[in-house]
Amino acid sequence: MDRNQSRRQVAAMKQSLFDQGLLDEQFIQLEELQDDANPNFVEEIVTLHYRDSSRLITSIEQALKERNPLDFNKLDTLMHQFKGSSSSIGAKKVKAECNLFREYCRAGSAEGCMRSFQQLKREYAALRKKLEAYFQLARQAGPQETACRSK
C-alpha cells in the first residue's frame, strides 16, 4: 500500500514534469534503456549530465564576464555543447533557453545573452531540483518500478 502509494506518487511527479514541459520524449527513451543490467540507468545519466553541464555553465559564466567585447563565437560554441548535453536527458525548457541564447549570440546582443542566460540558469536549477526529488522518491518507492514504463 505504502509502496503502491509511493509508486503512484512517483508516477504523478513524473507526469507533472512532462505536463509542465520540463521533460520530453528523450527522458522516456532513457527509461526504456533501463534494465536489469543497468537498473539505475536514468539516474546515472542525469547525474552524469549535471556534473558535465555545471562545468559548462561555469565556462559560460566566465566567458560572459569577459565583456569587452563579448566573444559571441565562443559563447555560441559553449552553448552548443550545453544544448547537446541538455538534450541527452530531455530537458525541454532548458533546451529552449539554449536556443534563445544562441540566437542572441548570433545577433551579437550582449544584453540578450545575459538575460537569456539568467533565465537559463533558473530553468536549469529548477529542473535539477525536481529531478533530484523525483529520484529520491523513486528510490524509496522501489528501484525496479520507478523508471519503467508500465507495460
Binding site: D24, Q26, L33, N38, I45, H49, H80, K83, G84, S87
Partner: protein, 580 residues
Amino acid sequence: MDNGCFSSPRCDFPAGLRVLVVDDDPTWLKILEKMLKKCNYEVTTCCLARHALNLLRERKDGYDIVISDVNMPDMDGFKLLEHVGLEMDLPVIMMSVDGETSRVMKGVQHGACDYLLKPIRMKELRNIWQHVFRKRIHEAKEFESFESFESIHLMRNGSELSDDGNLFAVEDVTSTKKRKDADNKHDDKECTDPSSTKKARVVWSVDLHQKFVKAVNQIGFDKVGPKKILDLMNVPWLTRENVASHLQKYRLYLSRIQKENDQRSSSCGMKHSDFPSKDLGSFGFQNPVNKQRDVSIDSYNYSDGSLQLPNVETKSHEGDPKRIVSQSTIAKKGRALNGSITDTNMRESLRVGLNQTFAPLESEGNHAVFDCSIPTQYSWTEVPDMQLKEEHKSLVHLEDSFNQMPLHGKQHHIHVDQSQSVASISSAPSITGEEVAACIEAKPLFSDYKNDHGSSVNSIGNAVDTFPIQPGSLVMNDQSLEPISTTNSGLKTQGYNNLSCIPDLEIYQRSLLLGSEAASAPLDADLHFHWLQGDCYNMNFGLQSIGMSEYYDPGLIAEAPTHLYDSADYSVIDQGLFIA
C-alpha cells in the same frame, strides 16, 4: 561474384556489428553505448577524436562503422570523418544537436553516410547496419566492375596486365584469406561469399604509399598492374587486392579531380577562359600537354623520392584514348562532386582523387590527365567558396603548388602522396595555411602562367607564397586531417584572390599533387608554363593512376567514377581498380 551470401556476412548480422562511437559529451557517450548494446552491437566508446583514430589504425578492420559527433574539442568531426573515410574506408555517421541544413550538407559532402540529430532515438541506431551492408555491396559491385575493366584492359594492353587482370578476380578471393589483416572475424564474415566479403582494410601509411608510388613509377603507368606493384613493393603482408584497390582509388581520384575541374569550370561558371573547358576537359587527353608532359614529367622526380614520376613523359602520350576517356569520367565525377561544391565536397573528391593520383604519379606517364585534374581541383575548390572565376587562378595555384613542390624538394608534398594518397590528402595533418601558400606560391610560374592565362594568376601565386609543406604534414596519411580547413583560410589570407576559398584539403591535395610533380621538376617557369598550357601532366601526377589520360578505357572509366563519386567513399573505388 554472387551476392547471395553477401546479404548476411554473419549468420546473425547485424548483431555483433562493431561500432566505434566518438563523442566528447560523456552523457551522450553513455547513452549511445547503452542503446547500441541493446541493439546487440559491439560498442567501443571514445571521447577524443585522436584516440578514436588511433584505435581505428591499431585495429585495422576492427570496426564496421563509426559514429561521431560533429563538434569535438580536439578535432573537427568532419576531419575525423575524412580521415576515416580515406584511411579506413569505413562508413561514418555524424551526429549533432544542430540540424541546420548547411551542417548536414557539409556532413554529406565530407562523406558521412548519415547524419543523426540529437536527441537520437533507439530506432535510428537499430538501422545503422544498413550503411555497413550497403558499403559491402558496393565493394562487391566494384569488384565486379573491376573484373570487367580488367578484362577490357587486358585485351587492350596485352600480356603484362593480363596476368594481373585475369588473376585478380580469382586471386582476390583467395588473397582475402591470405591477407595478413584478415583475422578470423574477417574470415567468418567472408566465408560465405568471398567476393562479397569485405576485404580487410589496409591502412596505407606514408611509407607504404611511397613504396607503392615508387613501384608504380618503376613499372610505368601503362604497364602497371597490382601484381607487378605488389612484387616490387615487397611488402609481405600486402595482398594483390590491397594494391589493386589502392591503385584504383588513386586513379579514380585523379580522374575525379579532373572531372571536377571540368565540372567546376562549367558549372561554377568559372571563367576558364583558356583553361577550364578546354584544358580540363580535353586536358590531358590530347593536348599540347603531351609535349609538355615530357618535360614536366621528368621534372617530377622528387628528390625525396617519394613521388617519382619516372619517365612518364613518354608514356603520357600513349593510350590517349584512354586518357580522354578518363577525363570524361573524371568530368563526370567532377560533376557529381560539384553538386554542392564546398570545401567538404572538394575534399571528398580530392580525397578520392588524391588517392588515385598517388599511385599513378609514380609511374604513369599519363600526366596529361593530371594536369587537368589538378587545375580542376583548384577551381573546384575555389568555386564553391569563392566563386573563383578564374580558372587561371586555380591553375595558378596548381602550378604554384607544383612549383612549390619542387622547390621544396623535400617538401612533404611528396610525402604526402606517397603514403597515403588519399588519406594524406584529406588529412593533411598539418597543412597549414602556410603550407598551402607555399605550394601555391610558385611565383615564378605565375608569370609564365600569366602569359597564358592572365594576370590573375599572378596574384594568386604570390599570395600563396609559402607553403612550407612539412614533410610529415602533407602526408595526409592519416594523421591529422585537421589542417585542411586551416589551410584554406591560410590561403585566403594569403591573398589568394581567387583561391581564397580553397579548402584546406584542396590546397593540400594540390600541393601534394603539385608537390609531387613539382618537386621533381625544377620549379621553373617552363615546367610551370607547360603545365599551364594544359599540360595536365603535373596534375596528372596524381591522376595518372586514375588513368585519366591514357589508361582508362572509356568504358572502364565510366564505371568507376560513378561509383566512386556517388558514394563518396572508397569502397567503390576499391573495387574498381582501373588498370588502364
